[in-house]
Symmetry: C3
Subunit: 344 residues, 3 copies
């Protein structure tokens, strides 16, 4: 599927628009009217390469030009627009397409949305169909709630935030006491949720309100779909949290962290700034130092995996047998040496 640009551009014009450079040998007057992926691109289309796995397509593409990093340009058989940051340039390139229509375009506040008392809305706030916004919420300028979003009372969103459908912000945290009969007694949740500027939150994500203090999400944080953020979690500026992540209550995540998909962060622990948790990891202890951290085992053929698991269940015995072997060898060595008459 070719995406049409909103007008025809020469390669030179495109380069200017997206902050890229033409490689020296390229004709700057080539006309481009669309964006298309490497496999299917043809004359008039500019293409791109978002992942190393597509590099081999650079040798065969029929695109009129390709947007690339300098290091990737060699293997490309067609004209190249060079960018130091090709992903950022692609974002700008996509911004030159005809804007698509979108659900909430017609009404700023959809008539089916329900707003509580004392809600503060900045300029150009958009609230989609079937949203519910509780009392005392505040939404900064240019913030958007897509359809079917729920904000409980006392939720603050900064400027230029986007919250996708099905997401719930401000539900009570999972906090209970146990009474003398062994029954659960709900802890009242009297804190709120404070979210900074330029935060984007995906669909069907849950962010709980704080028990006493607030749950806090910094500026420029990006959160994917189906993420669970417990009560009193604190997330630093510019951190990214991928899909299906669970962050338990009172965890503190630093700035510029990357939390890979399907990972879990235990409650009451801290992650330093610039910690990168790779996908499907389980973090159970505080991490004080920037770096990359991982856990989990990769899938393999079931029969191999079954054998490995069976062995893993005996790993304690394996370790003891190694120790026994080491002891025996030393004893043997001593014995042999003694027997052979050259004890030192």
């Amino acid at each position: 599927m070719a995406l049409k640009l909103n007008k025809q551009f020469t390669l030179a014009e495109l380069a200017t628009n997206i902050g890229a450079e033409l490689s020296a040998i390229v004709n700057p007057n080539i006309v481009i009217d669309s964006i298309e992926k490497l496999e299917t691109a043809g004359p008039g289309s500019i293409s791109f390469c978002t992942h190393a796995s597509y590099h081999k397509l650079l040798e065969t593409t029929n695109a009129s030009a390709v947007l690339l990093a300098e290091s990737e340009a060699e293997t490309c058989k067609v004209p190249v627009l060079i960018s130091e940051n090709p992903r950022l340039a692609l974002a700008k390139l996509l911004g030159l397409c005809v804007p698509d229509v979108s659900t909430e375009a017609v009404d700023l506040i959809h008539p089916s949305a329900v707003l509580g008392a004392n809600v503060t809305l900045g300029r150009n706030v958009k609230i989609g169909p079937h949203c519910t916004v509780g009392d005392n919420c505040s939404l900064g300028d240019d913030t958007v709630l897509k359809a079917n979003v729920v904000l409980y009372h006392g939720v603050t969103l900064g400027k230029r935030c986007a919250v996708h459908s099905g997401t719930v912000i401000g539900s009570d945290g999972f906090g209970y006491a146990v009474d003398e009969k062994g029954n659960w007694v709900k802890m009242p949740h009297l804190g709120g949720v404070i979210i900074g500027d330029d935060v984007e939150i995906g669909s069907n994500t849950s962010i709980d309100r704080g028990m006493i203090d607030d749950t806090v999400i910094g500026n420029r944080v990006i959160i994917d779909n189906l993420v669970q953020i417990g009560h009193n979690v604190n997330i630093g500026d510019n951190t990214a949290i991928a899909g299906c992540v669970g962050i338990a209550g009172s965890a503190t995540i630093g700035k510029y962290c990357l939390i890979g998909g399907a990972s879990s962060i235990a409650g009451h622990i801290s992650l330093a700034d610039k910690v990168h948790i790779t996908a499907t990891s389980a973090v159970s202890n505080t991490i004080n130092k920037a770096g990359v951290y991982s856990s989990g085992l990769p899938a393999r053929e079931n029969s191999d995996w079954r054998r490995s698991v069976a062995r893993f269940l005996t790993i304690d015995s394996m370790a003891k047998r190694i120790r026994d072997l080491e002891k025996t060898i030393i004893t043997e060595a001593v014995t042999n040496n003694t027997q052979n008459g050259y004890k030192k």
Copy 2:
């Protein structure tokens, strides 16, 4: 709880209706008016066995008849209806019950649903309360959206699809560039979502739209609850995806795959046709061959598990110690042999 059939059937009639056979010695005129599980079934009820763990109940059930595979019939003390595919026969049997009422029966398009511009609806489409359907969506004949479903703009659903409540289709993918200041810049998401015929999608599932091309889900795909499907994922016909699975962006899943519950599939990888991923597995590399693949470790007593984890954290040292032992043994053997005078 006995489920009432919509009329009385003789065993012979039931067999005909559901494509099963009477075992030779059974009286075909036994009258059946209800379906009930093995433990509680009595005269007039037909029962079934959906899992091997219930086989032992075949010896004690008081059902008037039981629907079984031929291989299971031996141990059963009561009359048997034999089917080559008892689960399929049970589906047909349940189809003979009095149909239950359902939420969306009254209105084809519930008046509280919000539909955008240029939405195309096939014959007999049902849209439940509080649904939001964006501009330029298309729903094929007999497709059903249960209550509180959200389709963003540009989502295509084929014929006879069912989408359960809370599911969001077409939200923006989790794609960002990083600018010169280290801040996230959102990638425009200009692709759509294309879903084939006869697809069922559970509740609270999220399916993101493509960035440039579409996210594509084939025909007869079944998807459970709380599943995350990233942007530009491609899922082949007849694949089944169980609950709590996360599939990262640009992954390609083949046809007739089975993805077990709580599994994760990394981005930009491919799974061949007929790949079966068992529950709670983490797939991080392309799988080119049909087969069963697994990862993860099963839960065990906490004290055993703690010991095993402590050992696992030293597994690299264990491997080195084995190597050292092997070296020592060989040296010893050579030394001993030399010392004992029969070096070969």
Copy 3:
């Protein structure tokens, strides 16, 4: 953020109200008007300690008093209210704060909610905006559905239940037969969902209806956000299920169980009463005995983790090499003993 109590209390009055005791040396007439965390509390505030990681703050807090267990009181430099159950006492203390407003305060049944036929509502039931309640549902006295909750038909909730936003109860289970062409055939789901009294269910959770019998959740069960509960699951009284847990179809969970966050429970298995599954565990077999059970590996530095995984993939070979070493050692020992002339 200080939480204001609804009036001023002396420490003696507070102690009486929340079932705590004053330590002997404390002035009972100290006046308290607010609750605040240890770091920021000052004169007039009472504080608390919800997690061992905050103990060190007891030495430096400026609170007028702190609510503690007797064993924690020693290290505290300020007046202490002693409770056998400080978490329960804190719940009571929070109950003395000015009640916050909440979304559903105005209407018992919000006018935007859609109710089916034959719905039974107890006294003081509250149903929030954009909820959908199917035919034949029943909600007991004082039960609350927050905004955007969906109950399919035939769902029964007991008294004093709370269901948070985005949660879906009664969607069809993930059950299919396979027909002769290899295509999925949906199993009709004719059972319902029965939920006891005093159950709280978090946001964006999915609970499927039974296929023939009901899905059953006992009294005083607490369930967190983004939890998946499959068809025909049975959960005993007083069990707690943390966020992001998946429970596959027909699993039976006992009473007083604790299921840690991001854990998975396989289908058709049982957990005895008082089983505690720690976070991120995968339970694939029946557990017959109360106790603590775990699986999973904790995150560590990526380079260490990569080395460990590489070794793990050879664990079967490691075990065989240990066996070989053991055999060699025995052979050596026998050989040496024979050669050395003292064979016994």
